[in-house]
Every structure is written in C-alpha cells, then in structure tokens.
Amino acid sequence: MLNAHPDLTASVLVGLGWYYLVMLLMNLYWTVQAFHHDGEYANGLPRATPWAIYSSILGMVCFYHFTYPPDGFLIYMPEVFKVNFDRYFSNPVLYFALSIAGFWALIALREWWTKPKVSWVLLNLSLLFMGLSMTDYDFRQIVGKPDNVPIVAMLFIVAFCTWIYFRRAVDNDRRMAEGRPLFEEENNEKVLVWPDLVYTELICMVLLTALLIFWGIALKAPLEEPGSAVKTPNPSKAPWYFLGLQEMLVYFDPWLAGVVLPSIILGGLMAIPYIDFNKVGNGYYCFKERAFAVSTFLFGFLPLWVALIVLGTFLRGPNWNFFGIYEYWDVHKVEAANNVNLSEFFWDWLGGIPKGSDLLTILLRESPGIILIIGYFAVLPPLMGLTILRSYFIRMGLIRFLVFSNLILWMAILPIKMLLRWAFSLKYIVGIPEWFFNI
C-alpha cells in the first residue's frame, strides 16, 4: 500500500547523503588537524584515531544514503526514541525549564563547553540529531518548510556567535586575571583600509551574493493559495520573528503581549547605554567585568527571544497547542485549560466573590491583584534599592535606578506569569474584562 506520509523517500535519502557528506568533510578536516597537533596516546596511537574512525563511519553512512532505496533502509531515528521524546519532552513547561537550564549551563560551564573539542562534539551531536530527525515525516514538514529554513540556520549561527563570544570572553578574563594584555590589544597595529578592509568587504559581498543566488535556486519562495478572508488557516501565525510575542499571548492579553511588552523591550534596549554605569568592558569581549549586564542581555535574547521563536515556529500547531517535534499536527488535539483568576482564588478562600459591575465592586473584587501589581512595580524597586541592589542604587542615582529596576521587573513578568500559570493554573492576576484590563 502506498504510504501518503513516508518517513523515507529517495529524495530525502539523497539530501541526507549530501548532509552527511558535509559532515564527513568537516570531520576529515578535524581529523587532519588533530593528527598534526594532538600528539599520541601512551601506546603510540595518534589521538586523532577516534576522529578517524568516526569520519570513516560518516563516510559509510553517506555512501549508504546515496546508494540505497528507501525500502528497508536501516538508518533512521528509532521509533521508541521518537515516542518517548514526544511523550516526556513535549510540553511548554519542560521546554522552558530546559532553555533556562541551558542558559545557566552556558554561563556556569563556559570554560568547559567553549573548549574546541567539547564544542566540536556538541556540534556533531546536534548535527546527528538533526540528520536522524530528518528521517521523520512530521519533523520534516515543520523544519523543511522553506520559510523555516532560515530559522534553523539562525539557531546554528546564534550558537556559533555565542560560542565565539564565550571563547574570547573566557580568554580575556584569564588574561586580565594574569595581568596580560587583552587579546584585542595584541597585534593591534594600524593597517591601511585599502587593502585590508575593502578586500574583506568585497569578498564578503561576493560570497553573500553567491549564497543568496544559490539559496534562491535551491528553495522556492512559498506562495500559498490566494488570500481569502473567509478561510482561516489553523494555526494562524504572525511572521516568524514575531512568534516570540505571539507565544506571550498564551500568558498575557494582547494589550500587554502585543503592545506594552514590545514597547518596553524597545524602550529598554534603547535605555541600555544610559543605565549601564559600568565603564569597563568597552570594545572587547569579557564576561567577569560585566557579568550582570551580559547575563541579563543573554537571558533576554536566548531563552526569552530566540527560544520562544523556536517554540512558536516549530512546536505550536493547530489551536496553538504544543506538539512534539515528531508529532503529527492534529487539528483535533484537545488540551484542557481551566484557568482561574487570582480574585477567584482569593474570594473563594474568604467565602464569596463580590458581585456587581459598578466601579467600587470591581476594584474591591480585584483588590488582591491590584495590590500585588502596585507592590511589584512601586514598592519592590525602592525595597531592592535599599537592600540587595544597594550598591547599584548608590552608583546609579534615583531616576536611573528606578528605570533600571522597573525594566528588570518587566523582563521578569513573563517567567513569573508562566510559573504561576503552570503551578496554579492562574489566568489573570488582575482580571477586569469589563475594561479589557487583564494582567
């Protein structure tokens, strides 16, 4: 019988063959480098041996992909892995927890994971994971969508850039601790812009043009059916770079997720140079001198922006339900959502919610949430300024500190609301649908 959703087709196998060929070439280069520079084990065997074996396996895998028909093909992601991965890893709670854990590991283990060998192994693992996953039909449907290809590429580029940053920051931190000059200060003669810079620019332009043309030939720009106001697609997604914001709609109403929070993100970005009073760390990579600033920014960029875009693009399907990476996007998947407002919690506990639609009743009904919000934004900053962030307060002055602490608190409300939702099924902290004022 013909399978409408084949995991493996001839074109997929050939495509993967090319993929493994690239991996093979990368690892051959690595093997040669290791052979020249890594020396030998005690028994005289070159330390490059494991890499040579790995490369040969990749070579065979690559050859196998180019030559075998899809029936009875042996290399694919095992079904048991897919099922268990989707079962245990496929929910937003674990996804977010893992992205936070990853963020913590980036910083805490920075001296370890930026070592070339470690990062090379990590890169190979992620490439193998990707390659094996591509044998799954549903995975391919999402990741292989032409508009999603740049996002996959972005993940690897962001990872690479983060690697460069931490590698050079760790190096410079060590140099400063040892009293040596910064990496950026060594071999830093002045050179003429012609030819040193203009040629780099020229080569860059040529390569980019070639890349764009190649990309344009290889992947057709998508064009769906003509637009129709009556046929609503499910899921309806914003352009991919706004999917982090769309993901916030799960936790906040549109006025916050779509208007206020984006504005605060932009305002906060613009405010960075004016609230960062730390004069050092200007013009070179470092971590220790700017640990707080860098960590905050990385937290905003990696788990709260990039990871949420990935979540919104690859893992949110029909009805904005969460789907595992190997899961079929079933329109009829039902997720129970029975969320409760803070006011309901509070008044149930006291024995009865105030009913009525006049101003005072509404304010009374929502008073617990309103007090919490006022406390969060108005009382917490001075409190922090007098206690844990006292040194910041003294150096920043009143206005600067208030702006800074409020921005930090705004940044924290998304994780806080997520936690409250997952732990207590909390819908709104302040819920006044009469005025569209829900927090």
Partner: protein, 257 residues
C-alpha cells in the same frame, strides 16, 4: 603602451579617478579620501578592530542585504501591481513565467537573512560593550533601525496576497486593536468615549489606522505597499547615513579604550 595604460592615461579615466591605482602606500591613502564610496571609511584602522572574529561583519552584511533588497525590490516593482485583482497573480507569474522571477526568491531570503543579521549585529555590539560612551546615541539609532527592519519585513509580508500573507498580517495587526487608550479592545479607550462622543471606534482606532479599514483589504495593501517601498526605506536610508557617520565621529570602529 598597452591598452590598459592608454585607458588609464586618458582624460576620461583621470576625470573619474583622480590618482593612480592604489598600489603604493600614498595612493592607498589617497583613494580613501577621494572616492565617494570609500570615504565612509577612515584611511587606516586598527587590525583587531576589523578582524572577522571580532566584528562578525554583521553590520556590514546587514547594510549589504539592505542594498540587495533595494535592488531586487525595485526590479520586482516593475512586475508587481498592488491591487487585489493583480497582486497574487503577479507574484504567481514571477514564480512561473518571468525570467527575473528569482529576484523574488532573493528578495524574500535576503529579507529573512537581514532580520537575523541585524539581531546578530546588535548581539555583537552588546557583547563587546560597544554601546558604552561615547557610542550611546548610535546604539539608540541602531535600535530604531532594528525596529524599522522588522517593520520592512512585516509590511512586505502582505504583498504576495496569499493565505500566508493576509493571515500573518491579520494576526499581527489584531494587536493594534488592543492598544491601551487607542484601540477598541484596549484598556482605557473608554476615556475618549465619554459624554456621548465616540472617539475610539472600530472605524477610528489604532488598528484602523494601520490597516486603512476594519479588515485587511485593498486599502491595507496600498498602505503597506507605500510603507514598504517608499516610506520606511527612505527613513531607514537616512538613519543608516547617520549611523555610519556617527561610527566615525564617535571614535571609530569599536576597540579597547
């Protein structure tokens, strides 16, 4: 005398390039000062400041992609009519018929790439602390350019007028409806609707302003087309000029102080 020398000694050549080829030190300096396109650069520069592993080249790539988008965009404008009747079918023709159809692919992939590179440029500038004095204001301009890049991409998203386009814009513009005070589903709009006057309605709120109507329709297409092809690019060009000028004026390419 070879043909090359003959050309280089002609009056025409010399009127364009005012000095010999930049093969020696003196002329390599002069070329930077006399060429309009090169004079954005200084004459000499710190070696580490232009090292790829330091700059990632992302700002330059973003600018280059902006130029690619401008050129391919202008070519596409020759084929594309922003009306409900034609928009979709013109794009379809670009895909299936027109010789220059690949311009659309390059335009779309270049746009995706530009969004990514502009983020990475910001990422690098932050991580090297290059926003610190004296470059604070240039960072602010950079954030504005980032927003405008996203808006350029967002407005361009609608133009193919397929399902993907109109629903992505519908989802995005539904947010405008919830703008505090200015949207019909935003908190506080009632302030403007007291004592019998209805200032904020679904025919006058922020979403209406964005779409030129209550729904994504012909007026929206026209509005987004003008924003995408004229209004935003003009503003972006101006800001880019200031951004580059200030890089030079605020102490040059970022380096340890």
């Amino acid at each position: 005398m070879s043909v090359g020398d003959y050309i280089r000694n002609s009056q025409v050549w010399k009127s364009v390039f005012r000095h010999p080829a930049p093969t020696d030190r003196r002329n390599r300096v002069v070329v930077m000062l006399t060429n309009f396109f090169l004079h954005l650069h200084p004459v000499s520069i710190k070696q580490q400041g232009i090292a790829l592993s330091y700059t990632w080249c992302m700002g330059g790539i973003t600018f280059f992609l902006f130029l690619v988008e401008a050129i391919t965009g202008i070519l596409l404008m020759f084929y594309y009519r922003p009306t409900l009747e034609w928009a979709f079918y013109d794009i379809q023709a670009l895909r299936d018929v027109q010789t220059l159809g690949i311009m659309r692919e390059i335009h779309r992939w270049g746009a995706h790439a530009m969004v990514i590179t502009v983020w990475l440029h910001m990422y690098r500038v932050f991580l090297t602390g290059s926003y610190k004095p004296p470059r604070e204001f240039n960072w602010v301009i950079g954030v504005l350019l980032l927003v405008l890049t996203l808006l350029l991409s967002f407005t361009g998203y609608l133009l193919p007028w397929d399902q993907l386009a109109i629903w992505a814009i519908t989802v995005g513009s539904n947010m405008a409806k919830a703008t505090p005070f200015l949207g019909v589903e935003g908190p506080g709009f009632q302030v403007f609707n007291t004592s019998g006057y209805e200032l904020i309605t679904n025919a006058s709120d922020a979403k209406f302003l964005l779409l030129g109507g209550r729904f994504v329709g012909e007026a929206t297409l026209n509005r987004f087309y003008i924003l995408h092809c004229v209004a935003i690019p003009v503003v972006v060009s101006g800001l880019i000029a200031i951004h580059f000028w200030r890089v030079r004026k605020d102490g040059g390419i970022s380096q340890p102080l």
